[in-house]
């Protein structure tokens, strides 16, 4: 994916508070990798893979954390330090890395349940073949635990920065969410 930095003259909300004055990309990358893994495999099963994730999606999530639209005890204070350009540098760095191969297993009946959920929620309209694109995150090969947590966080109105997903996820029962998590985690698009 090509990642030029374009000069955006936008009428969007103001940048989060202040830019980190002593921002050094390598230091911030190291901070990120302490949780998201130094080879792309996160240290916890419900932390997301960000190596090879979509540039604009990473940037948007950093912005949302920083502005309080997405809440997380670890990420919110970290992201609040970055201004728009710093967030873009980090997003560019991680988007350019190779997506890791994380083993996952599908169970009998998962595919059928997942397909039913996908059709009902019209998921593929945006998520396509799960490869992600720009503002749409890659889901294929993501960690099972993170996928499950994310869908449940939408369903239970914990994650609020994509509110339209709340209504969609409320239509899915936990069994379907579990199946969908395993299904997406095992999709190989390398």
């Amino acid at each position: 994916m090509r990642l030029p930095f374009v000069a955006l003259t936008l009428s969007l909300a103001a940048s989060p508070v202040l830019a980190m004055e002593d921002f050094v990309l390598e230091d911030e990358v190291a901070l990120c990798m302490s949780c998201h893994g130094d080879a792309g495999v996160p240290i916890e099963p419900d932390y997301p893979v960000i190596w090879g994730q979509q540039y604009f999606y990473i940037y948007t999530q950093l912005r949302d954390y920083g502005a309080g639209r997405r809440q997380n005890d670890i990420m919110t204070p970290v992201a609040a330090e970055y201004d728009r350009d710093q967030a873009k540098l980090l997003a560019e760095h991680f988007a350019a890395l190779a997506w890791p191969d994380i083993p996952a297993e599908i169970q009998d009946g998962d595919e059928q349940l997942a397909e039913r959920g996908i059709t009902g929620g019209q998921c593929s309209a945006c998520h396509g073949k799960w490869q992600g694109d720009s503002r749409i995150p890659r889901l294929a090969g993501q960690q099972v635990g993170y996928l499950r947590k994310t869908m449940l966080d939408f369903k239970n109105e914990v994650r609020m920065n994509a509110p339209d997903k709340i209504s969609t996820m409320k239509q899915l029962d936990e069994e379907t969410i579990d199946a969908l998590s395993r299904y997406l985690a095992t999709i190989d698009i390398q």
Binding site: M1, V6, G120, S124, D133, S134, N161, P163, I166, S167
Partner: protein
Amino acid sequence: MKSGISSIAATVTLCIGAYGASAQEEVAGGTTLYGDLQSVTQSMLTRAAGDGNNFLHTNGNYAQTRYYPASQINTSNVKNLRPAWVFQTEVVDTMETSPIVVNGIMYVTTAFNHVYALDARTGKQIWHHKHSMGPVTTYCCGPNNRGVAVAGDKVFFGTLDAKLVALDAKTGKQLWETQIAEPELGYSETMAPSVVEDMVLIGTNGGEYGIRGFVKAFDTETGEEKWTFHTVPEDSVGVWTTEDATGRNMHRDIEAEKAALAEQGDPYETLGGGVWQNPAVDLETRRLYFVVGNPSPDLDGSLRPGDNLYTDSLVSVDLDTGEYVCHLQYIAHDVWDLDAVSPPIITTVKDASGNDVKGVLHGGKTGHVYVHNADDCSLIRFSEAMVPQEDMWTLPTAEGARMLPGANGGVEWSPMAIDPNHRLSYAINLHQPMTYTVRSTPYPEGKLWLGGSFDVIPDEEQWGNVTAVDYDTGDIAWQVRTEQPMIGGILATAGGLVFTGEGNGLFKAYDSSNGGELWRFQAGAGVNAPPSSYTVEGQQYIVVAAGGNAQLNFKRGNNIIAFTLAD
């Protein structure tokens, strides 16, 4: 390079369609090509409705009739229709392209903005242009592209990062590109542009992202903007109508809306109103007719008091200036996303007194074909409902309320066709029972903003149909049910046929007078794109893309398939 996209591009020439020895062969990398690539004159574009050789506009001609005047392939011989060739694009993903054919050269597009020029006789690739995509793209409903416009020596297309691009028709090299609007705010392009004289016309996607919609005209030579019509005026309030265009009560709480207006002000800056299908062009009156999509956020009316002009409307503007002429709003203050998307058609219709007048047809997501007087946009009549309507207009609730049609229609973006001899319009429809859920959230600064969700009810049967409507009476003349909801488009021909495809891979020909199925072909992936037709060296072809559909999750593919009569 997008992951999951095949890197293999192959041209498969099948056994049918032998060409005369005198046919000029193309020279790879050289200058000798079949046909003249630099010959799309305004006269050709203007007279396209009678051109049985080329297919020059996304919807066939400026009136957008999708009625092709050639009749070599007809009701008596369509049973002998066979694939002439199959071209496989590099991108295995949703396809909505309308193939454009100029003097034996075909232009098609794919998801993620690839453009191909092909030899229309053989399917052999002449050039391939892959758009250099910026970092921010937007699409609610698949990474679609519906094709190119052609004029002079140029090919024009819009992109998912909200650019208008001009290519050299002979080489595929980029001549210029123009940033139409800011992609980070949710603007993007999936429609094919239209060209009239020195103007390239294009609207915008983004009704699901809180954009302010428009139609713009750009200079064909330079890409400089010539005019803009904002589909949402600064006063978007309207007349507080409580009924839709068919006279049914929409259960608006006008007092609450007036209170919200006093508190919040006019919502025009983020009110949506995308235009993502081609306008019909009337060169006689120098007017455009197009339909405007849904208000933002789709399901939450509390943040957008008023009629939300000109969303969900047929609008006419002056071709040369973009100035407003007239409009008719089908659904004021829509909270169901049952907006106006299928491209309008100009044709002669009977008015209420039985006199022939210039009319405009639009196939609605509501399932009605609306028949307008072209002079003032007024509604002459609306057809019988082509799909079940139940509990209209039940307001969305926090728990989800069932109402039919579902939010995809009726008629989705799929262009209709007409046969002016039969005085019939042909539409493809969906029946997808859904619940409508509202969840109010503030403007999310260019992110998806539906204000709730529309969810398919998994236990209810879905299906589709092909429906012919007598636009002089509004009566359904014939109707054929299909296994799956229909999306993609339809073509009528002077051979007494209509062609349309289905999500299960079937591509069919029907008798346009009575709906009798005369031919079918299994394409192996969803046929969810509008067919075209053309004639080269005396041989008529029907061509269609089979790439499936992301929105309805129909099986993806990457084929352009051209059919002609077996020897």
